[in-house]
């Protein structure tokens, strides 16, 4: 297996509460890996550890290692800012920059990292919006405020914004939880195309979604990785009784 990202005995705390318990797993390149589990199981916290976003919360703490290729993202001297440039993230609620246009939202990451050349920006903005399956809907309103789009469009705008800086891995933290079924279907379709070029980690509370779009699934319960394996097997023939109990709807 071609491994893009590897978590090694990764634990995370909020103050003295441990939210993630020594999770070890491997994320395969150019695949969608889903993390499922009931509310509060630590799946969001886990994914936020993968690009060092967990530590922005006061009193949050992480132990263990995350290997991106051969580099430990938690090694001494690694700048979280650089990590986040290589591991992008899409959040639960669409969060376009409120004062920026559609174009500026997508260009923000490049521009603020110093890219000024207009033709290059134009090219990346179009490419990113196409990748996010949003281009046809917004190509005539690139100058409109990002917040003027519908919720589903805003979320795809945020995906385009994340893609524009060309991350090696894209983390998605319940990207459809604030969207209606049609917008959700669009994003799921998009995930299918994205994995040709990107490695995607998807956190979702929606088991059907994980079953539909992911290649590998991990089941997280109370911060512990209960089972991790091919999506087909995990949903049809889980090896752990707790996984079976969860996917058959006995709790969660």
């Amino acid at each position: 297996m071609d491994v893009a990202l590897r978590a090694e005995r990764l634990s995370a705390w909020f103050g003295s509460t441990q939210a993630v318990q020594a999770v070890t797993l491997q994320i395969a390149r150019h695949q969608v890996t889903a993390i499922i589990g009931p509310s509060g199981c630590g799946k969001s916290t886990f994914i936020r550890c993968l690009n060092r976003m967990h530590e922005v919360i006061p009193e949050a703490r992480v132990e263990g290692a995350v290997w991106l290729d051969s580099e430990n993202l938690y090694a001494d001297g690694v700048d979280p800012v650089d990590v986040r440039r290589r591991v992008g993230m899409v959040f639960q609620k669409p969060n376009p920059f409120p004062t920026m246009t559609v174009y500026d939202n997508v260009a923000a990451g490049l521009r603020l990292n110093g890219l000024r050349a207009r033709p290059e920006l134009d090219r990346v903005v179009e490419e990113s919006l196409r990748l996010a399956a949003l281009w046809d809907e917004v190509k005539d309103k690139l100058r409109a405020p990002g917040t003027s789009l519908s919720g589903g469009q805003q979320q795809r705008l945020c995906i385009a914004r994340a893609l524009a800086v060309k991350p090696e891995v894209l983390l998605m933290d319940e990207p459809c939880s604030a969207l209606d079924p049609i917008a959700t279907a669009k994003i799921e379709e998009l995930l299918y195309q994205l994995k040709e070029r990107y490695t995607v980690v998807l956190v979702t509370h929606n088991m059907q979604q994980a079953a539909r779009v992911s290649d590998t699934t991990g089941f997280l319960l109370m911060g512990e990785l209960v089972e991790f394996g091919p999506t087909g097997k995990l949903f049809t023939n889980p090896s752990e009784p707790r996984t079976e109990a969860y996917i058959t709807g006995r709790f969660g």
Partner: protein
């Protein structure tokens, strides 16, 4: 109707009446004040008031152009001193302020806000007027500028804190360093609020008299540069209204009207700028 029920209704009506009465009193005080000043001041307003220097004592007519320009100069200097310090302090509190130091800064700002304005005047007097042996626009501007700091600090902090965490997180997740996140994402998202805070701050010190009395002092002719005594509307109002000449009283009313209208317009402008509440 049962007795407890009647008692509740009476109490309710009473409380409603008292609160509504006080609310009406608040508004009517403003309108009474405005009306009174317009009534007395409108007669003194003429072209000469805005274009001529004060006439020598005893002569009728003249205007306050030097005081109008003087107030503008003082407010400009005060803004140039107070706003950068206040805004950067506010940014510190909103973005990096945790723990004891932040508590200290906030506390200091609140105390500074409560310091009597005449004390600010004494401070600027000691700091600038005494060593330079000269009343000056610089000293007046400094006194007003210091008064602007605490409000700028707190309003900047409040408006920056209104920018949701999710917007900051979006910027961090793009690999933007903290300072770029603040400068290019958070501040633009809050700029209307920040501007409102600055305008209200300017309006607040525009009418201050006490800190100017022994810093900027007064001047019946033009003040050149920043190191000469300078006239200002509030001090002119004070000087003219305690003088024994009717013509001066008339002009003091006119000056009060101009100052009041300025504050009103700035306040109104600030309200217009304030972001309308949107669903997040």
């Amino acid at each position: 109707m049962t007795r407890p029920m009647r008692r509740r209704r009476v109490a309710s009506a009473l409380v409603f009446g008292v609160t509504a009465g006080c609310a009406a009193l608040t508004v009517s005080t403003l309108f009474f004040l405005l009306g009174y000043i317009v009534w007395h001041g409108i007669g003194g307003l003429n072209w000469a008031f805005f274009t001529q220097l004060p006439k020598p004592v005893g002569e009728l007519g003249g205007g306050m152009v030097n005081a109008i320009v003087g107030t503008a100069k003082l407010l400009f200097l005060a803004t140039a001193i107070g706003i950068p310090i206040g805004c950067f302090g506010g940014i510190y509190l909103a973005e990096f302020g945790h723990g004891r130091l932040a508590f200290l800064v906030r506390y200091a700002a609140d105390v500074l806000n409560g310091v009597p304005s005449i004390v600010m005047g004494i401070f600027a007097y000691t700091l600038i007027v005494l060593p330079m042996r000269q009343f000056s626009a610089l000293a007046g501007g400094l006194a007003l500028g210091i008064m602007m700091i605490p409000i700028a600090v707190r309003s900047t902090e409040e408006f920056l804190k209104l920018v949701p965490l999710s917007v900051r997180e979006a910027a961090w997740a793009l690999g933007l360093p903290e300072w770029k996140t603040i400068a290019f994402v958070v501040i633009p998202a809050a700029y209307r609020g920040l501007l409102t805070g600055i305008l209200l701050d300017v309006a607040r010190v525009a009418g201050e008299t006490a800190p100017l009395l022994f810093t900027a002092f007064n001047n019946r002719v033009w003040s050149h540069g920043w190191l000469e005594p300078i006239a200002s509307l509030p001090v002119m109002i004070y000087t003219y209204s305690i003088a024994p000449y009717d013509d001066w009283h008339r002009q003091a009313w006119a000056a009060a009207l101009v100052l009041m209208l300025f504050v009103l317009v700035v306040n109104g402008g600030a309200r217009l700028l304030l972001p309308r509440r949107r669903a997040a």
